[in-house]
Symmetry: C2
Subunit: 281 residues, 2 copies
């Protein structure tokens, strides 16, 4: 595995690889890799001839009072894990290379960025679509792998790809969970033992929703109320949102119908965690 | 020459061409082709293995009260001229293909879009950068040819390409003028004979500026005043702007120094015309 630290060398490597006409898979990450990221890399290695993983904590997708500075970083461990997963190129660009002085462009998706995480984190998705556009242009992948945990992110990026006619495939892979059900997240590293226990309620609430829907409940408000009760048992919990939305366009669904996304964002202390479940009825 | 009317067939053609590994040249236009456009096509044919020209009157780059609906169109003549110039593919997409229902993405460049035409035509450059991004993604050209007449447009698109790491070269070719000096423009078709005579003052004013600078004048305000006097002789003339700016970042220059862009936008009746000159001192 080669570690690449500049845009120009990344472009050169890709240009050389391209001559052989391979299928290039790409896994964009913010690093501090966990099994969720690794599952994406492994899938890319399986499907593609060359796999590029990027590790870049993108400043423009963090809000002013968010955790950009203290976001966990461990490039040594990331490199070891990526290598083990079969990644060919680990792209670790610098801020000054990605956002040089005078940088002034943006890629923006409206509508599907307005609700859920978009409502709680204004500007977040502008940062995501801009950095992802840049990475797509640098790497020109055939297939890009994202984790289903960031459900809205996938919908936003798919919309951008469709609207702007970007020529690649987006693949969403299932959420990877710890044995107790907690969705893997780099931000889990922030949790104390007690907070980690409380964080289990996200998964439990999603399971509760699934159970209720299985029993025939189709009133979203009732399901959400039941999820809230379960989550609010935790002492250090503050709910950002619990929403039941259309799995394609994220419009709110009063009644469970067709394919819905049940999405949760919760603060455990200062740590914001998200989780979700797609249910077809 | 093949005329291509859908994004999907354009992509297919390019994919086939790509297999042979050629250099693809691209000339984006709004059609109603004149010698300015043709000079771009000819240069592309000279430099590249395959030349794609697009003809698309992009609605999103027109303001509410601008001339989108009556913008001149003549696809038959365009096709004949493009063929004669050696164009391989004429891409003529439909609005519903370019902006399908629910379209909600935008590519935006700030700073260099705020002044000159950007100030007079709010949102214009957002429309330009968005459509150009789409076309770049569909055609994936190696080199794109633009006319120097839209000087700010070139700077904006170069900025977008640099910021978003888009892998292609932008080439700007000189303004093509009628024998009397009038810069070629599809909008010249709107002009009455009398208006066309008045429109000559744009070029004359630029020549006046060049002459003054040649004589050692380096005070921009004085040069602009002299240009204004010359242009305002016309009865149906309203000046939108006359500006002397840095040729790279478009910042206003009080004193002529290094490489300046002298840019004019003038209404002759309801017809908005632009022209410019780059001067190195």
């Amino acid at each position: 595995m080669k570690i690449i630290r500049s845009i120009s060398s990344m472009k050169k490597c890709i240009k050389n690889e391209r001559k052989k006409g391979p299928k290039i898979g790409f896994v964009p990450t913010m690093g501090y890799l966990h099994q969720g990221h690794i599952s994406l890399a492994q899938q890319s290695v399986k499907e593609c001839d060359v796999t590029v993983m990027s590790v870049y904590v993108n400043p423009t997708q963090f809000g002013l009072h968010e955790d950009y500075k203290k976001y966990p970083r461990d490039i040594k461990s990331d490199a070891a894990l990526a290598k083990e997963a079969g990644v060919d190129y680990l792209f670790v660009p610098s801020d000054s290379d990605m956002y040089p002085l005078g940088f002034s462009s943006k890629v923006i998706v409206s509508n599907v960025t307005q609700m859920l995480c978009g409502a709680s984190r204004p500007g977040h998705f502008d940062g995501v679509t801009t950095i992802v556009s840049k990475l797509f242009n640098i790497i020109e992948p055939n297939t890009v792998f994202f984790g289903q945990k960031d459900a809205q992110q996938i919908i936003v990026i798919k919309k951008m790809v469709k609207d702007l006619n970007i020529q690649l495939k987006i693949k969403a892979l299932p959420i990877v969970r710890d044995s107790d059900g907690l969705a893997m997240s780099s931000r889990n590293a922030y949790l104390s033992k007690a907070q980690r226990l409380e964080a289990l309620s996200l998964y439990q609430a999603l399971q509760k929703a699934k159970e209720l829907i299985g029993q025939g409940e189709c009133n979203s408000a009732k399901i959400i109320a039941s999820m809230k009760r379960l989550i609010l048992r935790g002492k250090s919990v503050r709910i950002d949102y619990i929403a039941i939305v259309d799995a394609e366009d994220l419009s709110f669904k009063k009644h469970i119908k067709a394919k819905v996304l049940i999405a949760i964002a919760v603060f455990i202390g200062k740590v914001r965690l998200i989780d979700n479940l797609i249910i077809k009825v």
